[in-house]
Each structure stands twice: as structure tokens, then as C-alpha cells.
């Protein structure tokens, strides 16, 4: 400072030296070494001072040689390598201490007592105020700077020590679940106590994200005994739901059923067992598995209907097997006319009924393969039986038998006489007519007409008659309704010179009929 004052030019003429002097170094070449020396000494002193002070609290057993200031920085790489996150360590290894302090850290940082700002200020202060060129400006300023540096260094040191000490301590549950949410690596193994695990699970459930919940559930399952795990699942239905969904996806049936039973969801467990049985490749296996299920999960009182259905299925399969065995030796014409294309075993009840109607329609009702027997076995109703018989009989053009099927048993002796006795009401007329014309079948016109005449509603009657070309009924209806135009329109649809055409023409030309 004195040296500087020496070169202060009081004269006005020389004053410009005062302003430019400091920058124009060539004038002060002789002074430079001194000043630099001073700088060095001061820095050295300050640094030594700083580090010696700080070292004392954290390393009580002082080694003689104070480490060079850089050493603390050099330890960081080893620190890096030491951090081994047990779960998925790959990404975390690159995390440097500086990154830990990156401003991205959320407000709820794990170490709220350590201000993060000072760390940043070290970086900003260092080049400006403490740079070597501006160093010897003011002793007081220096003092302040040193103190500040010292404090900051101390804080950082403490922070670092703390992280070092806590690297194997479980971080805050919210921090962990946050990292799970962002798919960042975490060390879950640090949560040792059950309370910690539950807290972690709670935090995960709070995140809503199923993936986070599942990750924590996996961890808990891995680290606690089965009974405790089940207890936890019972307490946390959300977690249980995720876990069950996972087991379903994983097709881990045994665990799925055990879990469901443990959660008291026995009906669901029964359904799981049932579905497994359904996935079996052969019917024989299915039967074995279903029988097993009937003896275990299906005993649930809420599954009465299901149990009954499974029993019926088992009975049906038994019957189907018998029929299959007998029919395989049967060389009757029916089997060559309508070759079987699939095995009967395992087919639904209705298909079995269809099969029975097709191949065993004429069997005595007491025979095991007769339609009536199948109907009784499967608890099917009259409608289903009639429907299937008609469908199969139409296929074989057995029109007389169709009439029998439609006819109430007591009236069979009267068969052949025309009249409205056909019990068409079991199968709705619209379907009955459709069935009769299935696959371009040609039912006798007489049968269709008789069926149509049973219809009470004139409009329906006419509509169906027109659709299925029941000329007689069309003529009757139109004459009753005195609707000549409709009959004329109907005439146009008929092929000329057919008998229907002539009949219609005759009706139109009939002078007795009265038209509107």
C-alpha cells in the first residue's frame, strides 16, 4: 500500500498517472515480485488456517501433516465408488457430489438444515472477489472473504460427512417413492423395520401410480415372511389389488389363489381355479381339475349356482363320452349322410342336443342319447328341444316329423287333419318360419299355410305369407281385407305360369270376391 502511495502524483499535470497507473504495469515492474510474494504468503496462510480449523471437529486425531487443500476434493472419486446402491446401481454411480446439489432438488430435500445456497455461492464468489488479481485490495475485505470461505467450507465439509455417514441410511420415504415414480434407481433394502416398510408402502400408495406401488410390494414380499406380507396386503387393499393384477398377468396361479384366499376373496379364487381348469388341453384333464375344484374352492356357499353348473357339465361330459363310444361303432346311414366333423365331448349342452336330435331322433326316449334324455340331463326347456328338433328335421326334410314335434302329444292321433292345433307358440312364429326355410329348404306349402293360419294377427299373417310365398294365405287375407292392390302387387312377384300365379290370377278374376 505504501509503495503505491509513493507513486501518487499530487501535481495536477501528473494526475493522469494516478488513474492509469495501476493498469500500466511497466512502471511498477520493480514492485511486482514483492506484491506477488505477499499474495502468495497471504493465500498460503489463509488456506492453512482454513483447513486446520476445519479439520479439528471432524478428525480429532490430527495427523501431523495437514493435507493439501485439494485432497478433500480428491476423496470424492473414492466416495463415488463407495456408494453402492443395492438396487439397480448402474445409473447412480455417475452421480457426483455437485449433482447432488443441483437446483433440481425439490424443496423437500433430505437435509433441510444444510443451506444449499452457500454451495452455489462458492462458485460465484471464487472468480470475482477472491481472484488473485484483485486480492490485495483491502485487508478487511480479505478477512471477510476468508471467513466466508472458511464457513462455507466448514458447512460443505459437514454436509459431505453427513452424506457419507448416511449413505447407508434409508432416505425419506417420499424421496424414494419419488425416485421410483421417475424410474430412477433406488436402494430399498435400507428400509429395515416393518414400520419403515409400511411407511414406504403408504407413500407409494399416495403416489397413485400402480407401478410404484408394485415396486414397493415386490420389495416387501422379498424381505418379510409370508404371514407378515399377507397381513400387510390385508391392511392395504390398493397394494393388494396391484399385486393380484400382477399375479394374473404373470399367470402365477398358485400364489394368486393363496393370496386371494388370504384376502378372503374365495369366490375369485374359485374362478381362478376354474379358469385354470378351462385352459387344460384335453377334456379329461379339465374334468380332473374341475372335480378337484369342486372339492376345494367351490365349496364357498356363495357359489351355489356355479357349483351346480360345474356338476351338470361333468355329468354331460360323462354322457357325451358314452355316446361318443357307442356312435363310433354305429355305421348307420345318418352318419354317412351327415358326417361328424368334431368330437362331441366337451361341447355345450345345446350342441349336444342338436347332435342328439340329428342322429338319435328316433331312439326311444329312455335311451341315453335320445333328445328327451339329453334335455332332462341338461335341464333344458321345451323350446330348446323343439327348436333343435325342427332345425335338424328340416335338414333331413322330415316334414311329417316336424308336425309331430310341433304337435302336442295328446293330439298326435289327429295328425293329418287340417286345423289350428299346431302348438306353434313354443317357438315364436317368426323363428319357426325362418327355421323351416333354413338353407333353402322347401317345406310343404300346406304345412306353412296351416302354421300361418294359427296366427291371430291379420297383418302379421299377411306379411309372413307374402315373405314365404304362401299364396293361399295371401289370397285369403287380401280377400278378407278387400285389398286388391296388395294382391296385384303380390302377383307381380310370382313367376308367370307357375301354379301359384294361376291361383292368384284366378282369385283376382273371381267375380264373387268383393274388393274395395
Amino acid at each position: 500500500m505504501n509503495a503505491r502511495n509513493q507513486f501518487n502524483f499530487p501535481d495536477e499535470e501528473d494526475q493522469y498517472w494516478n488513474e492509469n497507473g495501476s493498469t500500466n504495469s511497466s512502471f511498477f515492474d520493480d514492485r511486482r515480485p514483492n506484491e506477488l510474494l505477499a499474495k502468495h504468503e497471504l493465500t498460503r496462510m489463509a488456506m492453512d488456517n482454513l483447513f486446520e480449523d476445519v479439520r479439528t471437529p471432524c478428525e480429532p486425531s490430527t495427523s501431523k501433516q495437514p493435507p493439501p487443500p485439494l485432497q478433500s476434493m480428491q476423496t470424492t472419486p473414492t466416495w463415488k465408488n463407495n456408494v453402492v446402491f443395492t438396487a439397480g446401481a448402474t445409473k447412480s454411480a455417475t452421480t457426483t457430489p455437485l449433482k447432488m446439489e443441483a437446483p433440481r432438488l425439490p424443496p423437500k430435500a433430505p437435509f433441510p438444515d444444510i443451506g444449499l445456497k452457500p454451495a452455489a455461492s462458492v462458485v460465484s464468489i471464487a472468480p470475482s472477489e477472491c481472484s488473485v488479481s484483485s486480492f490485495p485490495s483491502d485487508a478487511q475485505q480479505q478477512e471477510i472473504d476468508y471467513n466466508r470461505l472458511k464457513n462455507e467450507h466448514r458447512k460443505l465439509q459437514r454436509h459431505f460427512e453427513m452424506i457419507r455417514a448416511e449413505r447407508y441410511k434409508a432416505p425419506d420415504v417420499r424421496e424414494t417413492t419419488r425416485r421410483l415414480f421417475m424410474n430412477e434407481p433406488v436402494a430399498l433394502d435400507l428400509y429395515k423395520s416393518k414400520a419403515e416398510k409400511l411407511a414406504l408402502l403408504d407413500a407409494a400408495i399416495e403416489m397413485i401410480d400402480g407401478n410404484v406401488i408394485l415396486a414397493v410390494v415386490f420389495f416387501i414380499q422379498r424381505t418379510v415372511s409370508e404371514s407378515i406380507f399377507r397381513e400387510i396386503l390385508l391392511q392395504k387393499p390398493k397394494a393388494a389389488e396391484q399385486y393380484i393384477q400382477y399375479l394374473k398377468d404373470a399367470k402365477n396361479v398358485d400364489e394368486l389363489m393363496t393370496t386371494m384366499c388370504a384376502l378372503g376373496r374365495t369366490t375369485e379364487a374359485a374362478m381362478v381355479e376354474f379358469n385354470v381348469a378351462m385352459e387344460a388341453k384335453t377334456v379329461t384333464q379339465k374334468v380332473i381339475l374341475l372335480k378337484k375344484a369342486l372339492g376345494s374352492t367351490f365349496l364357498d356357499p356363495n357359489l351355489q349356482m356355479e357349483r351346480e353348473q360345474v356338476r351338470r357339465y361333468l355329468d354331460l361330459v360323462e354322457r357325451q363320452t358314452q355316446i361318443e363310444v357307442t356312435d363310433s361303432q354305429d355305421k348307420s346311414k345318418l352318419f354317412t349322410d351327415y358326417p361328424k366333423n368334431a368330437s362331441l365331448i366337451g361341447q355345450p349342452a345345446i350342441h349336444t342336443l342338436y347332435y342328439s336330435c340329428l342322429y338319435h331322433h328316433d331312439d326311444p326316449t329312455t335311451a341315453q342319447a335320445s333328445p328327451q334324455a339329453i334335455k332332462d340331463l341338461c335341464h333344458l326347456n321345451d323350446k330348446q328341444l323343439t327348436w333343435m328338433s325342427i332345425q335338424t328335421l328340416v335338414k333331413q326334410n322330415r316334414w311329417l316329423d316336424i308336425e309331430k314335434a310341433l304337435c302336442p302329444r295328446s293330439l298326435i292321433p289327429n295328425l293329418g287333419k287340417t286345423g289350428g292345433y299346431l302348438k306353434a307358440n313354443v317357438v315364436p312364429m317368426v323363428h319357426l318360419l325362418r327355421l323351416l326355410h333354413l338353407d333353402k329348404a322347401q317345406p310343404p306349402k300346406d304345412l306353412v299355410c296351416r302354421l300361418l293360419r294359427t296366427l291371430p294377427n291379420m297383418n302379421d299373417k299377411l306379411r309372413f305369407a307374402e315373405k314365404y310365398m304362401a299364396t293361399e294365405v295371401v289370397i285369403e287375407c287380401t280377400q278378407q281385407q278387400k285389398d286388391r292392390t296388395r294382391l296385384e302387387a303380390y302377383l307381380k312377384k310370382l313367376t308367370p305360369h307357375s301354379s301359384d300365379h294361376y291361383k292368384t290370377l284366378a282369385a283376382l278374376n273371381n267375380s264373387n270376391a268383393k274388393w274395395k
Binding site: 415414480f181 421417475m182 400382477y246
Partner: protein, 613 residues
């Protein structure tokens, strides 16, 4: 490749594409891209082959699980692009282990899941492959329709699509700015919103931007309205979807349509070769197809009249070609109009054939009778015996079991459960007809309260005059919602004019307005009334205000901003059509976003928790 930026919400697609390119560039060397089949069409919308080639992709191969994957010889690496699921992780494990010398990378769509990572670890695959996360986000289906294309079975399960939905909303807002006003209804919507808040904390809260094209966002929960899915909708697009299945805006017609097309084009002498190349190729359905854009939202009864008038018009235009005297006129006609005429001609033929097949198939399953019954059910005038008799006839005719379940579930919901005797006999016949395997489906549907026995208590309240009784717990029943929002018109105001529809219920032939669409319409007209909606749905309702405009105020179409409607759990084409009509009638712009577009049969299968049937 076309530029996304000019398209509506194009920035989202652009960013998705750039992110993918970034991942491709991160993976060194030439590579084969093996793509999950469920992602193919959606992926095709983001990146085309030339773009992929530019970034070192030698070939794109669909992922097969049944055999070895044929790859191009020059590729050094293989990249699997898959939707993350446990099933997929298992497949990948076996694929990767079968070819240990091949260097692989996996791009998980949306993100790596804990279950996948566990599977990889278990099979020693972790560390063998490079792993990346990539979110597909909003796939543009149409200028007003975006889908996340999440498979339905994922979005109906509990693990769900919540993160994906929230993430896509975050992405959208980070690009276009925060949406000023947000309304949410339903449990799932609430969860999506809470996850979104979490994303704000992690990834940064979007800033408000004056350029934000969306002024209001509705986050809606599918679970609140199953009826719209169970009912048969009658718009053309919806019926096409039911019949052929539209996926990602494309449809593959079945053989009978192709055959018809071939026959007609043969008669008209249009180039056969051209037709052959288009055979069994998926047809793109969008507004660029002039014919389709005109009829897509029309009621089926209005489609044929339009198509025939269009046919006449085209014929007249062709006729113009023969009436020219001057050669120059003819030249002008050939160079200007002929091409577009031919294109229209072909489009028209396609749609006429498709339409015929749709009608034929619906006639085959007695659709008109079914529609009558559906309308009676929703109007609560149906005789349940008739409904069950119809169902029984359908079973005897061997119709699709799923269609029957849709109908019966609707009846159950609308009647607060069904009489036990009827329901039990239905279940018995159902199993007799379709096999014992349906036992678990019926059980699951019962458990989800979609197919339930009417309790003695509720049977007394289901009389038409007291259906407005609110249950004490759980979501509101369908009859209650129907009454609160007046979704079913009174018999007097039943309108049958479907050519110029004035009401959203035209999608169901005037019988019913989809719940969600009615909510949007009500808010549009009267503003958002949170207490009212809470009472209606008896569930979570939230509202968020990020602007000075009070959230209760109704949206103003003069602001020239769009309303975004986000469906968690999927949307149906019927709802889309209804919202389009709403937008048109009130001169609003409505952007529809959904986790997926629902196919009705798939939906009921997912509800029945079917994996194998």
C-alpha cells in the same frame, strides 16, 4: 414425411418423433426395428420408413412370438419397440436369451415397469440390453381426435393407464402452455389429475401461454357411463367399427366387401390391377376421403340416400365428359376433373359395398328387433320377460354371446338389477348355449355389479316414478343419472329426423344422449356447477382454475379456443359423433382425446376379464 407442426396439436407428434430419432441416434450402428404388433399402426403415424432409414434403421419387422424373427442381414443391432407389459417382458426374455450374441436394445413404450424389470432381472437379461423409455403420447387420428392407443385390457385393469394419461397431458401442456380451466369428473379422472400434479413437481409446471389453443379441459371417467358402450350406436363410422373394427383410423374390410368391390369394379371397367393391389390392404378412413367425411357421423338411415345422390352426381359429372364439342374442353376435363372423379368413384364404391355388408350382417342378427328392445330398456318401458325371450332366441340362433351380454348388462343397470329367477334361468341357458367356460365371465360381471340380482330393497324403488332415489354409497345408478341429466327424451319430444340431427341423441336413434356429452353440453350452456355434478355422480368432481376467468363461467365460443375432452378409459365413435354435432351446433371447436377408441365387444370382454375365450 409431412410436417406435423402445421397440424392441430402437431407439436406433440413432432416432439414424439424427435424423441424417437434421438433414441435411434443414441444407439450406434445400423439396426433392425422389431415392433410390437399393437403399436405398428400408431407408430406408423409418427415415423415412416424413409425417416427411419435416415437414422440407421435397416428394416422394420413386426414382433412375432410364434417363430424366429427374420432380420435384414446388414443390421448390427436389433431394437425392440414394445408396449411395456409383463407378457411382453417374458417374450423379450426368451428372444434375447435365444440369441445371446446379438446386441439388443429395448424401447419401452411409455416406460419400463417394475414387473418388467423384475422379469429381466430374474432371467439374467438385465444389463445385456440397452433400455430406453419413449412415450407415444397423443396419436393423431383425425384433426379433432387423438388417442393414446392403449390396449383396452390395460385401461380396464387396475394397473391401468393413469400414468400414461397424465404424462400425455403434461406433454401437451409443456408444449402449448397450461390449460386455463380444468374440470374433472370421476375417480379415475381424479387420479390422473393427482399424478399429473406430481409430474408438475418432477418435470416442471407448464407456464400459461397466450397461444394455448385449448381454453377448457374436461377429464372424464369412462366408468361413469357404460350404457353408451352397451347400446348399439347407429352412426356409419360406429357401425363400421362394430362390424370390421377400425384401428388407428384404418379399417381392413372382410372378404365379402372385397368381393363385392371386385364385382362392381369389374362391371365398370376400372383398372383391375389397381384394385388387386388394394386388396386386403387396410383402407384409411379420414376426412381426406370426401365421401367418408360426409357420411361418417351420419345416422345409418341417412347414409344410403346420401350415397345414391352422390352416385348420381358423379354420373352427371362423368356425363359432362361426353358432351364436349371442343377438344380443349375435353382436355381440360381430363386433366382437372377426371382424376378426382375417379377417386371419388372408387371411394363411393368402397363405402356402398361396406354399407351393404354392414346392413346385411345386422339384418342377419335381427338388429331392428334388438334396437327396439334397447330403446325400451333405456326408456325404462321394457318388459323384462320380452328382453329375456329375445336373448333366449338369440342364443338358440347362436348369435355372438358378447352382444347378448351387452344387452342383458344394460337391462341390469337400467333396472338396478334383475329379478333373481329370470337372471338365474338366463345364466343357465347362456352356459348351455355357449359352454361352461362362460361361468367365470358371468361371475366377474356380477362381481362388477354389471349383471346383478335385484335386491328386495331396490326392487321397490325401481318403479318408474321413484327411480330418482339416490343410493347412499357407491356411484350413482344409471336411472338416477338418466333422470338428473334428462338423457332420455320424453315420448312427446321424440324426433325421428336423422338427416339433419339437432340433438346429440341421434347417435342412438334419439333414444339416449351419452352421459359425458351431456355434461359437456350442460357446462357449455350453463357453466360448471360443481355441487350439482357431485350430486349427480355421487363421486369425485374437481375443478381447477389457472386463469382470471372464474371456472364457473361457461366457455365462450368467441374466444376462438378449443375445448378438450379427455376420456380416461376410452371413447366410442358414438360419443365422438355426438360431440362433433355439439361443436357444430354451438360453433365451438372440440378436441377429443381418449386413452383408446372402444370396440364394444372387446369392451365387454375386458369387463368380463377374459383372457382366453
Amino acid at each position: 414425411m409431412e410436417n406435423f407442426i402445421d397440424q392441430p396439436l402437431g407439436l406433440v407428434s413432432e416432439m414424439t418423433r424427435r424423441e424417437f430419432v434421438h433414441i435411434l441416434e443414441t444407439i450406434s450402428g445400423t439396426k433392425d426395428l422389431v415392433v410390437d404388433r399393437t403399436l405398428l399402426r400408431a407408430f406408423d403415424r409418427i415415423a415412416n420408413m424413409s425417416l427411419l432409414k435416415q437414422h440407421g434403421v435397416a428394416g422394420v419387422i413386426p414382433l412375432r412370438t410364434d417363430g424366429p424373427i427374420l432380420t435384414t442381414s446388414e443390421a448390427q443391432k436389433r431394437i425392440y419397440l414394445v408396449r411395456s407389459s409383463l407378457q411382453m417382458a417374458k417374450t423379450l426374455c426368451s428372444l434375447i436369451r435365444s440369441e445371446p450374441n446379438l446386441s439388443c436394445a429395448v424401447i419401452w413404450v411409455d416406460r419400463m415397469l417394475a414387473s418388467c424389470s423384475k422379469e429381466f432381472e430374474l432371467h439374467g437379461v438385465s444389463g445385456l440390453v440397452e433400455e430406453y423409455d419413449w412415450s407415444l403420447s397423443l396419436v393423431t387420428i383425425e384433426s379433432d381426435l387423438f388417442s393414446l392407443e392403449i390396449p383396452l385390457h390395460l385401461s380396464t385393469s387396475s394397473t391401468g393407464d393413469i400414468f400414461t394419461a397424465a404424462n400425455s397431458l403434461w406433454q401437451f401442456q409443456s408444449l402449448y402452455g397450461q390449460i386455463p380451466t380444468v374440470y374433472g369428473i370421476g375417480e379415475r379422472s381424479d387420479e390422473v389429475w393427482r399424478v399429473l400434479r406430481r409430474l408438475y413437481v418432477e418435470k416442471g409446471e407448464p407456464r400459461a401461454s397466450p397461444d394455448q389453443p385449448v381454453s377448457h379441459l374436461f377429464v372424464l371417467d369412462r366408468a361413469l357411463d357404460n350404457a353408451s358402450v352397451f347400446l348399439t350406436a347407429l352412426t356409419y363410422e360406429s357401425m363400421l367399427h362394430d362390424t370390421f373394427g377400425i384401428s388407428c383410423g384404418k379399417v381392413t374390410f372382410s372378404g365379402d366387401v372385397e368381393e363385392r368391390l371386385k364385382r362392381t369394379t369389374g362391371e365398370n371397367g376400372i383398372n383391375e390391377v389397381e384394385n388387386k393391389t388394394s386388396k386386403s390392404k387396410p383402407v384409411l378412413l379420414d376426412n381426406n376421403d370426401a365421401v367418408f367425411s360426409a357420411v361418417r357421423n351420419s345416422h345409418m338411415t341417412a347414409v344410403f340416400p346420401f350415397l345414391s345422390s352422390k352416385a348420381k352426381e358423379i354420373q352427371n359429372n362423368y356425363g359432362k365428359g361426353t358432351s364436349f364439342d371442343q377438344v380443349s374442353d375435353m382436355k381440360l376435363f381430363v386433366s382437372n376433373e377426371l382424376k378426382s372423379l375417379k377417386l371419388q368413384h372408387r371411394q363411393l364404391e368402397t363405402h356402398i359395398c361396406a354399407c351393404e355388408v354392414v346392413l346385411e350382417r345386422t339384418a342377419m342378427v335381427n338388429a331392428s328387433e334388438r334396437l327396439e328392445i334397447e330403446q325400451a330398456i333405456i326408456a325404462n318401458t321394457a318388459d323384462l320377460n320380452t328382453v329375456f325371450e329375445y336373448a333366449e332366441n338369440c342364443m338358440l340362433m347362436d348369435h355372438s354371446p358378447w352382444q347378448i351380454l351387452l344387452l342383458i348388462c344394460l337391462a341390469s343397470m337400467m333396472n338396478n338389477g334383475l329379478p333373481g329367477k329370470l337372471l338365474n334361468s338366463f345364466k343357465e341357458s347362456f352356459i348351455s348355449s355357449y359352454g361352461i367356460a362362460f361361468l367365470s365371465v358371468l361371475n366377474t360381471l356380477s362381481k362388477k355389479k354389471l349383471l346383478m340380482t335385484r335386491s328386495i330393497l331396490s326392487s321397490s324403488t325401481s318403479l318408474p316414478n321413484v327411480i330418482g332415489v339416490q343410493p347412499h354409497e357407491g356411484n350413482s345408478t344409471l336411472p338416477f343419472i338418466v333422470k338428473r341429466l334428462s338423457l332420455v327424451p320424453a315420448a312427446t319430444e321424440f324426433v325421428n329426423d336423422f338427416k339433419n340431427p339437432q340433438k346429440m341423441n341421434y347417435v342412438f336413434s334419439g333414444a339416449y344422449t351419452p352421459v359425458m356429452c351431456q355434461v359437456v353440453a350442460d357446462v357449455m350452456m350453463q357453466g360448471f356447477n360443481i355441487t350439482d355434478l357431485k350430486k349427480t355422480f355421487n363421486g369425485k368432481v374437481f375443478v381447477e382454475e389457472n386463469s382470471f376467468v372464474p371456472a364457473e363461467r361457461r366457455p365462450d365460443s368467441r374466444m376462438r379456443k378449443a375445448i378438450m375432452v379427455f376420456f380416461c378409459g376410452g371413447v366410442t365413435y358414438a360419443e365422438i359423433a355426438a360431440l362433433r354435432l355439439l361443436a357444430q351446433l354451438n360453433s365451438f371447436r372440440i378436441i377429443i382425446v381418449a386413452t383408446n377408441i372402444i370396440h364394444r365387444e372387446t369392451y365387454i370382454k375386458c369387463l368380463g376379464d377374459v383372457s382366453q375365450l
